[in-house]
Amino acid sequence: MYKSKISISVRKNILDPQGKAVEHSLKSMGFEKILDTRIGKYIELVIDASSEKEAFDLSEEACKKLLANPVMEDYTIAVQKEGEQN
């Protein structure tokens, strides 16, 4: 068993108004060293695969077909054996 942790965010060249609003709020609170804020979503999949590669490939296929929209989103996938500590 593997766990796949998928982070999805708005593509770099697209304005993320939610991230901007939070960034402005952080700045006004005094977090001047925080230069950029982007907000996305996080998805966890538990996968019955026989290898890390198989789990990664299945995750990537799921991202391409449904979980992310390549027109507007980027994604990263991190696979680990189920039960391992992050």
């Binding site: 697209i14 304005l15 108004p17 939610q18 609003a21 449904l66 929209n69 027109v71 507007m72």
Partner: protein, 222 residues
């Protein structure tokens, strides 16, 4: 053959009855509902994907509806030249399905916007806009949180050079690229628009500027 409209009902659609009423009682077209679990569009030759919040807008607007059983048939129908109309959430579904280019992002203001806006008819040589005048200004309500049209530069140039942009906003409410409110595909049989012409098709509802949209489509079948 006259138009036989089929209005797809997804769980969470909420403009399906408005569309049905306008198509049946105002436009007087043969109209039926299609359930999202149906495996066939039957004898329908004009498919509408209505507005609403299909599947609760989970994941992304339209992303899950795009994989409903009936969408397999709708995509096949569209790829064979069948006329498909997506309004609001329906437009989002068509983009997710890859039947129209681009995507609808969250509104630049982050707000859900519900108001009547002025649109410009950019191209009246389509089956969806033939009854309008070129550059005609029409007032149609919008009601969306994710209507900010986006596509890459190359796609935008194609939209422009192929005259695929049908409607633009006179005063951009949501941040849409090039003020885009509605587009058709390159083959000119699929349209998607964020504004709701079905909410502007009777005097009692405050306007009739949307009527010509449906009349144009139905007339193209005669």
């Amino acid at each position: 053959m006259p138009a036989k409209a089929g209005i797809v009902v997804f769980p969470g659609s909420n403009c399906d009855n408005d569309l049905y009423h306008v198509m049946k009682n105002v436009i007087k077209a043969d109209t039926e509902f299609l359930w999202h679990k149906d495996g066939s569009i039957g004898d329908r030759n004009l498919i509408f994907l209505p507005g609403g919040f299909s599947y609760g807008d989970y994941l992304r607007c339209g992303a899950i509806a795009r994989f409903s059983p009936i969408m397999k048939e709708v995509i096949r129908f569209a790829n064979n030249g069948g006329v498909v109309v997506g309004i609001c959430n329906g437009f989002q579904v068509l983009c997710e399905a890859g039947l129209l280019p681009g995507a609808l992002l969250v509104n630049e203001s982050l707000e859900f916007i519900c108001k009547t806006v002025t649109l410009k008819v950019e191209n009246n040589k389509s089956i969806f806009t033939a009854d309008y005048g070129i550059k005609e200004e029409i007032n149609i309500p919008i009601a969306h949180g994710e209507g900010n049209y986006f596509c890459d530069d190359e796609t935008l140039q194609e939209l422009i050079s192929n005259n695929q942009i049908l409607f633009t906003y006179a005063d951009n409410p949501n941040g849409s690229l090039n003020n885009i409110a509605g587009i058709q595909n390159k083959e000119r049989n699929i349209v998607g628009l964020m504004p709701h012409p079905e909410r502007a098709s009777e005097v009692e509802l405050g306007g009739t500027d949307g009527t010509k949209f449906f009349q144009s489509i139905v007339a193209s079948f005669d």
